[in-house]
């Protein structure tokens, strides 16, 4: 009860003080980030469906494991199951907010682990409409924030923010993000290319709650407004706090991923 009162008072106080749009945007981003802290590690299975302008589809099967790092970007391990010619290919990433990520790829035909450049932020992930920067871990210092307005999106009350990337090699000048007011979940993102034109629209649907705290969208669709292609990610088998440690994210671990 006391806790509730304190929260209420804080909320009232924060409303009373006149916030600039920058401060409000930053506060919303911080709240979004804070609500998603403490999951430790997670794993999930992703089915990626690529659709071209003629509606033809191709499918990728991917497994993703992540490790939450305190005060740094997450570590991630991505393993490809399909298409079959790249089965067993694995990708390891140590992400950082502003300095370059560290990345390695394992090529199973050659049994070779290769350190690769992480400058390729804006390139497509697996030939899809998702760029590497769209699926990398969210860190507060990566962007400047601006609160634009409140808006109802498909019946959901949202804040609309403008994000401007502060890291090198982004393919975007800015993005608009719709965050719902109740749970602080991304509902929609519009990406603007280097010339400032609308490039892609991403929607997040089928949210489910895990461990009573962590919301995960089970469907993410990216529509490219310039080339007419789209990609949908279907997520399943989310698991959290499975006891993984940094030892499970070594360069050496790439070789025995299945």
């Amino acid at each position: 009860m006391y806790k509730f009162l304190i929260v209420l008072m804080l909320t009232v106080t924060s409303l009373a003080v006149a916030e600039t749009p920058e401060e409000k945007g930053f506060a919303i981003a911080l709240e979004t980030d804070n609500r998603d802290k403490g999951w430790q590690d997670s794993s999930a299975v992703m089915k990626m469906v690529l659709r071209n302008r003629h509606g033809q589809e191709s499918v990728r099967q991917i497994r993703v494991v992540n490790l939450e790092m305190e005060g740094d970007g997450d570590k991630g391990l991505t393993v490809f199951d399909e298409p079959r010619d790249i089965k067993g290919t694995a990708f390891l990433s140590y992400s950082h907010a502003l300095v370059a990520d560290e990345q390695w790829i394992y090529l199973p035909a050659l049994k070779r682990v290769k350190r690769i450049s992480s400058s390729n932020k804006s390139g497509p992930f697996m030939g899809s409409e998702f760029a590497y920067e769209d699926i990398s871990s969210f860190e507060i210092p990566k962007y400047n924030y601006l609160y634009l307005r409140d808006e109802v999106l498909d019946g959901i009350d949202c804040f609309v923010l403008e994000l401007r990337p502060q890291y090198q090699y982004s393919g975007y000048t800015k993005s608009y993000v719709w965050v719902d007011k109740v749970e602080y979940r991304n509902q929609k993102v519009e990406y603007y290319d280097r010339k400032g034109s609308l490039l892609k629209v991403q929607r997040f649907t089928d949210y489910q709650l895990y461990l009573n705290q962590y919301w995960r969208a089970h469907t993410m669709t990216m529509d490219n407004k310039q080339n007419g292609k789209s990609t949908t990610l279907y997520w399943t088998n989310f698991k959290f706090k499975t006891g993984l440690t940094s030892a499970d994210f070594k360069k050496n671990d790439l070789k025995r991923q299945r």
Binding site: E82, R84, K114, S117, N120, S122, G123, N252, R256
Partner: protein, 403 residues
């Protein structure tokens, strides 16, 4: 049946039995899967062979399945991965090998591999000086990228200061060589089954190797030492002077490989010191790779590579790359079909000889892949080890069906 082939199969069968026994003791098999590919390959040689009269057209099929099973919550696993090729032109190219036949045990700070296995060391693209664990399967491709499975016990230890790999290799695999009806041969054919060894233990010499590897910020470093049978044989004339005989010396080799990754730059260096009875020499490969990402706002990436190759061994007839440079361009379209194209030129700076290499590949649907490979040689130096290849230009198309 040639002696060495029978021996190879014997060893494989023995290893297989041991692994089978081990495997059957763990009755709680959690999961298994069978994957792999079948491929058809068509090669057209631009000229007639200098030494034999094979057709300019050659075709072959290969089968490369992989059986994988894990149990004990994924802490133990078994891989059985035979490779089989049937070739219409060269009987030596029709061959069977166990690329992998390996039991793996994973613990928190160490891993143990027992069986036939494949290991890759190094960072450069033009050649792989430090990579000496596996024997080259030269009949597969004369670019030396294909390797035979190596019987080994490999213990990997993980520490904060890096990974230490220890290898014990109880049995030596002989290099494969093209036969008299194959392309990429010299005037004399290599009689691989007549191989001789410096060591009295022959193929049963116990080879050992150790490697430390670590990543520190932008640096990836590997330091290795190998003591055992040199995978690269000397080729000696037989008594009647009608064929070449592989002579395998014992060697000590220390190798260092380093990569520095900065923005879109990859700086690479490999260097070795090899000590054998016939020679002691230093060799290195060093260079740089730079990638232009998303050319003109498209999804195309273009990488450019340059490497310098140096080798100071005495006999020029053994070193292919004693003072050479590689220039290459890699196009990656990042499309749905993973289309790729590589152009490479290796240029001998002393003799002006050159070799061109083109490799391209593309997926078709979800299960098929097509790849194109072409090599063109411009070799005038009669002293060069590559001189016999001067008429072996070819274009090759391969279709692979994955399952």
């Amino acid at each position: 049946m040639p002696i060495s082939r029978r021996m190879t199969l014997n060893v494989s069968v023995k290893t297989l039995c041991c692994l089978g026994l081990l495997f059957s003791t763990f009755s709680h098999v959690q999961a298994y899967e069978l994957t792999g590919y079948v491929s058809g390959e068509f090669r057209y040689s631009l000229s007639n062979s200098l030494y034999s009269e094979p057709e300019q057209h050659a075709s072959s099929v290969a089968f490369y399945p992989e059986f994988y099973s894990e149990w004990d919550r994924g802490r133990q696993s078994l891989i059985i991965s035979p490779f089989f090729r049937v070739d219409t032109q060269d009987v030596e190219r029709t061959h069977l090998d166990f690329r992998e036949l390996q039991w793996l045990l994973v613990k928190d700070s160490w891993e143990l591999r027992v069986g036939m296995s494949k290991v890759f060391w190094g960072v450069t693209e033009s050649q792989h000086l430090v990579d000496v664990i596996n024997q080259t399967d030269l009949v597969e491709n004369n670019d030396t990228e294909d390797k035979l499975g190596q019987p080994m016990i490999n213990l990997s230890l993980f520490q904060n200061w890096g990974t230490v790999d220890l290898f014990m290799m109880p049995y030596f695999r002989e290099r494969t060589f093209v036969g008299k009806n194959g392309r990429f041969r010299s005037a004399l054919v290599v009689e691989k089954d007549a191989a001789k060894y410096e060591s009295g233990a022959g193929q049963r010499h116990l080879d050992i190797a150790v490697r430390w590897s670590h990543s520190i910020g932008e640096w990836d470093i590997g330091l290795s030492h190998f003591y055992g049978t040199n995978r690269e044989p000397l080729l000696l004339l037989n008594e009647s002077g009608t064929a070449l005989i592989p002579f395998y010396e014992t060697m000590k080799q220390t190798g260092l490989d380093v990569q520095y990754t900065f923005q879109s730059w990859l700086w690479k260096l490999e260097t070795i010191r090899r000590d054998t009875k016939s020679d002691t020499f230093t060799a290195f490969t060093g260079g740089v790779e730079y990638t232009f990402y998303n050319i003109l706002d498209s999804n195309l990436d273009v990488g450019v590579l340059a490497e310098y190759l140096f080798d100071d061994r005495n006999s020029e007839s053994l070193a292919s790359f004693e003072n050479d440079a590689l220039f290459a361009t890699r196009f990656t379209w990042n499309d749905e079909q993973s289309s790729e194209l590589l152009f490479g030129l290796i240029h001998d700076l002393s003799s002006n000889d050159a070799g061109w290499n083109v490799e391209a590949s593309r997926r078709i649907g979800n299960r098929w892949k097509v790849s194109l490979e072409a090599r063109f040689y411009n070799i005038k130096d009669e002293e060069s080890v590559l001189y016999p290849l001067r008429n072996d230009d070819y274009i090759q198309l391969e279709f692979m069906r994955y399952f």
